[in-house]
């Protein structure tokens, strides 16, 4: 199974001002096409940090996604850092310029700062942005995307054919209104007997009621179904409300 890593670039995420939504989105999409999202990093808008993190991650993982820092303002330094990380010159991409020329009807709106959004490392392949036109791009195994979730998501749809897919990850979820501690022994036994399926146990508090979500994940549907049956049998042994929850994944 090929691997992926997400690098979330932005002081606003670390300061708590902005709630990141891109990680959960990408995680779900990776399941669908059978790529394992192995790690995510949230880093500041700092030139050296971006370079070092990118170089570490692009050597370690098959796919690297970055979000944030490709706008027109002074704090948008991702592209300069990506070019530096790859040791490539930052060039003004003619195709990107043409896209922005179409988008900004008044020539004066296409100022120097907006043209910064056309700068990519030499050799980059653009990623379409149907929302606000300024493109993302791919360079090597790195996909450089916008931070605004709606734009990031549209860019993902535009690039997904370029990824190396695997067997989609499927999942099933059993919810039981009980503490996970009472289930733990039996659940560990089920996990040992069904090693092909990954079983996670996630306690939650819903309307003041304690419950546990038992999430089963795997690429093999039959193995997943068998493990889910075993978990359902385990939970049925307790006198508590339980049901299968439709998986959003």
């Amino acid at each position: 199974m090929s691997s992926a890593c997400l690098i979330i670039i932005g002081n606003e995420i670390l300061s708590g001002r902005t709630q990141d939504l891109n990680l959960a989105f990408l995680g779900k999409r990776m399941n669908e096409i059978g790529i394992r999202l192995v790690e995510a990093r949230v880093i500041a808008d700092d030139f050296e940090t971006i370079i070092n993190t990118l170089n570490e991650c692009r050597n370690k993982y098959d796919h690297v996604f970055t979000t944030g820092g490709i706008g027109p303002t002074h704090d948008d330094i991702t592209s300069a850092a990506v070019a530096e990380a790859f040791g490539l010159p930052l060039i003004r991409d003619p195709e990107a310029v043409a896209l922005l020329c179409q988008h900004y009807a008044n020539a004066e709106d296409l100022n120097e700062q907006r043209l910064k959004m056309c700068e990519v490392p030499e050799g980059a392949i653009l990623v379409d942005n149907p929302i606000s036109k300024a493109p993302g791009y791919q360079i090597g195994n790195v996909f450089v995307l916008a931070g605004v979730p709606r734009i990031m998501q549209a860019m993902y749809e535009a690039l997904k054919e370029r990824l190396i897919p695997g067997k989609p990850m499927k999942s099933r979820t059993i919810v039981a209104f009980m503490g996970e501690g009472s289930l733990a022994k039996g659940l560990g036994d089920v996990q040992n007997a069904h090693s092909e399926t990954e079983i996670g146990s996630y306690p939650f508090i819903r309307n003041g009621k304690l419950g546990t979500a038992l999430v089963l994940r795997g690429a093999d549907q039959d193995a997943l179904n068998e493990a889910t049956e075993a978990v359902t049998e385990l939970v049925s042994g307790f006198d508590v409300e339980h049901f299968e929850e439709s998986s959003a994944e």
Copy 2:
């Protein structure tokens, strides 16, 4: 200013099943007490990965927080990995056992799996969990907390006196309903003239309307106010709706 890093441990965050809320919470709290949250990492429930990430981060940052993986089930491996990372034995803490004994009225409920929640690296100092009793703990500069946001937040309140505080980060936010590209030149000039204040520009789409949030952050209130005045003056030069937004930070 002292530094902090958050390590979010859990397959459910990387699979997109669970939306992380702990990063935004911690980021806001760090602003309040003047600690810089420099980085966050989201990693899988994998023994070696937890050890390596923890050892890298605890050497690099003044404070490290971990969330997740301290429950009673087979996939809760954080404490074993933390002990291994520190080269310390994992011991059953008598104080933690006493806490759980009080919590579980029926002795049979305090099974071997739940007692796993009392295992900490030798020398750890417990962190109170007023919600479900099973404690977090501190070992060296590392704070090991629960993943469930309500419990994580309660644990943070219980430990915050142990952190090394600095000058609180203050922030002000100016919202303007315009693209950031038209502001970029002037904003860069304001940033250069007010280097003590960090100015971020964050485009958003609200009810289909494009806008930009200009976020100013700094520990010096006077410098922050001066920079905010300069940004307000800049924005006033455009014929668009704009206002100061009350900062949630």
